[in-house]
């Protein structure tokens, strides 16, 4: 779990359980465990496939994307199953991370200072814990969007479910499905950009670790929690 963060000190001596002599863990904080990363990327891959197949049916200009899935009918067949997989994968991710994503009073202040956020003036912002307010809002946006996408997706799933619903309900579901897909895709574009923008984030989600300086700069409250936890662990050894 994400709570099992470990730290090694500058001398390379392990103060947590994951020393193992691995050079990748020297002077680093473990931000995402192998399970966290696997879960994240399973969700991410499913999202990309669901988005591409969904966009093929969303706008005529993008119908060509259906070629990636073996044509129109295959796109129609696969899309809902990919969607179900994504919802399932994200459900685990949501459970792993939900307690880190509860909005705190400082988060609203952080959001109000969005100008400092986008101009890289983090020094002016309130201290951030494991996640900043933007990440938390993304989390809740995904939770809400995926919940609505799941429910409305079932209603418009012609092969198995649509005939249980009135045409009026199907129409409404189709609009909501499109809207939430739009909101989700836009949010994920922001998410992907943020990962490119804040250097070290991609490493965190691909290799699991961040440098202490990264944690100190972007997630100082979390950084302090981690070093205190590491100290109390080493003291109890």
């Amino acid at each position: 779990m994400s709570d099992s963060t470990h730290i090694t000190d500058a001398s390379g001596q392990s103060t947590g359980e994951t020393g193992h002599g691995s050079p990748w863990r020297r002077d680093t904080l473990l931000r995402y465990t192998a399970s966290d990363r696997t879960n994240h990327w399973m969700t991410a891959i499913a999202f990309v496939l669901a988005a591409l197949s969904g966009l093929a049916m969303f706008h005529p200009a993008l119908f060509g994307l259906s070629g990636l899935f073996g044509g129109g009918p295959w796109t129609r067949i696969l899309h809902p199953f990919i969607g179900l997989f994504m919802v399932g994968a994200f459900a685990f991710l949501a459970v792993r991370f939900w307690h880190h994503n509860l909005m705190q009073p400082a988060d609203w202040k952080w959001l109000r200072q969005y100008r400092d956020v986008i101009t890289n003036r983090e020094d002016r912002l309130p201290e951030v814990g494991r996640y900043n307010a933007g990440q938390k809002l993304l989390y809740w946006a995904i939770v809400v969007c995926l919940a609505v996408l799941l429910l409305t997706g079932i209603v418009i799933w012609r092969a198995y479910f649509s005939f249980y619903f009135s045409i009026r309900v199907v129409r409404l579901a189709a609009v909501l499905h499109s809207f939430c897909a739009f909101a989700l895709i836009t949010s994920i574009i922001v998410h992907i950009y943020a990962a490119i923008w804040v250097k070290g984030s991609v490493h965190a989600m691909t290799r699991g670790t961040v440098t202490p300086g990264w944690a100190w700069k972007h997630h100082r409250a979390w950084f302090r929690e981690m070093i205190h936890a590491a100290n109390s662990r080493s003291r109890s050894d």
Partner: protein, 308 residues
């Protein structure tokens, strides 16, 4: 079906106009006129439709009503709907309506369809499904104001009345028209059908049906299948024929201007990110941050170690 020699004026899920040079034929559109006041409910039209289109529906169950099958299906493209209505004088009126695709001038199915060329509209007004392009999503069902298209469980393709586009293309009238024994079904240019309907309405009015009229609903731009109704003021009496059919606002919202707007917003978000990177640049961690982190780590450890 796609074997056709008719000019296409509209195609589903296509953002550019169809070939427009041969517009001379576009002025003359066809229509089927269904005179409910002459219909005796013999179902010859249903049989003719089955025969011409090689359709054989499953044998259903008899529930003691004339209507058979109970609803339109992927294999039953037309259906006599029987409504028993008590009029204001307390008399029974048996209102029989041949149901099927209305061939709207503004087709909701075509608007909703995401598959390029799966639904087309010919210059003569016929709206046709090209099943080889159909992906089976069923959006046409949500788009239709008349609840007509049906998706087959066998091949997951959508089907409905073609107005015998294959026959009309070679100068024949639709199969159902051929079979009607009372002349309740007639076929011709839409103008002629309107004239014919006007005569019928006049006749009906002289016989005491003062609300008789033509059903050619303007909400869908008019239709290429029209009804003469004894009670044109109350179309719903005829097995829920919509009083004022139109493409649902929900469908318009779903398929209208919001679609390009949403696409533009997504593209804008990505482009905005790119230019943010170009103008502001990445948010990087430098040596100073690492040093301050190391300092704080050391300080915290020494405080912790001094504690008893």
């Amino acid at each position: 079906m796609a074997l056709q020699s008719l000019d296409i004026i509209r195609r589903s899920a296509t953002t550019l106009p169809e070939p427009q040079v041969r517009t001379g034929t576009g002025d003359v559109t066809v229509a089927k006129l269904i005179d409910t006041t002459k219909c005796i409910g013999c179902k010859a039209c249903q049989v003719a439709c089955m025969e011409w289109n090689d359709l054989r529906d499953e044998i259903g169950t008899n529930v003691g009503a004339y209507q058979n099958p109970h609803d339109l299906t992927p294999s039953s493209w037309t259906l006599m709907r029987f409504a028993e209505v008590e009029n204001t004088q307390g008399d029974l009126e048996w209102l029989i309506r041949k149901d099927g695709c209305m061939h709207c001038a503004d087709p909701g199915c075509l608007k909703a369809c995401p598959a390029p060329g799966a639904i087309v509209q010919y210059a003569n007004g016929i709206v046709d499904f090209h099943e080889e392009n159909c992906i089976g999503c069923g959006y046409c069902i949500a788009g239709c104001p008349f609840d007509v298209p049906r998706v087959s469980k066998k091949d997951h393709k959508a089907y409905k009345c073609t107005l015998c586009s294959d026959r009309v293309a070679v100068g024949l009238e639709p199969a159902c028209i051929k079979s009607c024994p009372t002349g309740a079904l007639v076929f011709g240019t839409k103008e002629d059908m309107k004239l014919h309907a006007a005569e019928r309405v006049e006749d009906l009015k002289s016989r005491g049906f003062e609300n008789a009229g033509l059903y050619d609903p303007p909400g869908v731009g008019g239709t290429h299948v029209m009804y003469v109704l004894h009670h044109a003021d109350q179309p719903h009496l005829y097995s829920d024929l919509p009083d004022e059919p139109h493409i649902s606002h929900t469908v318009r919202l779903w398929k209208g201007v919001t679609k390009p707007l949403a696409l533009a917003a997504m593209a804008f978000t990505a482009v905005a990110g790119f230019f943010h990177y170009i103008r502001v640049g990445p948010n990087e961690t430098d040596e100073g941050d690492e040093a301050r982190a190391a300092q704080e780590t050391a300080k915290t450890r020494s405080v912790a170690e001094k504690r008893p």
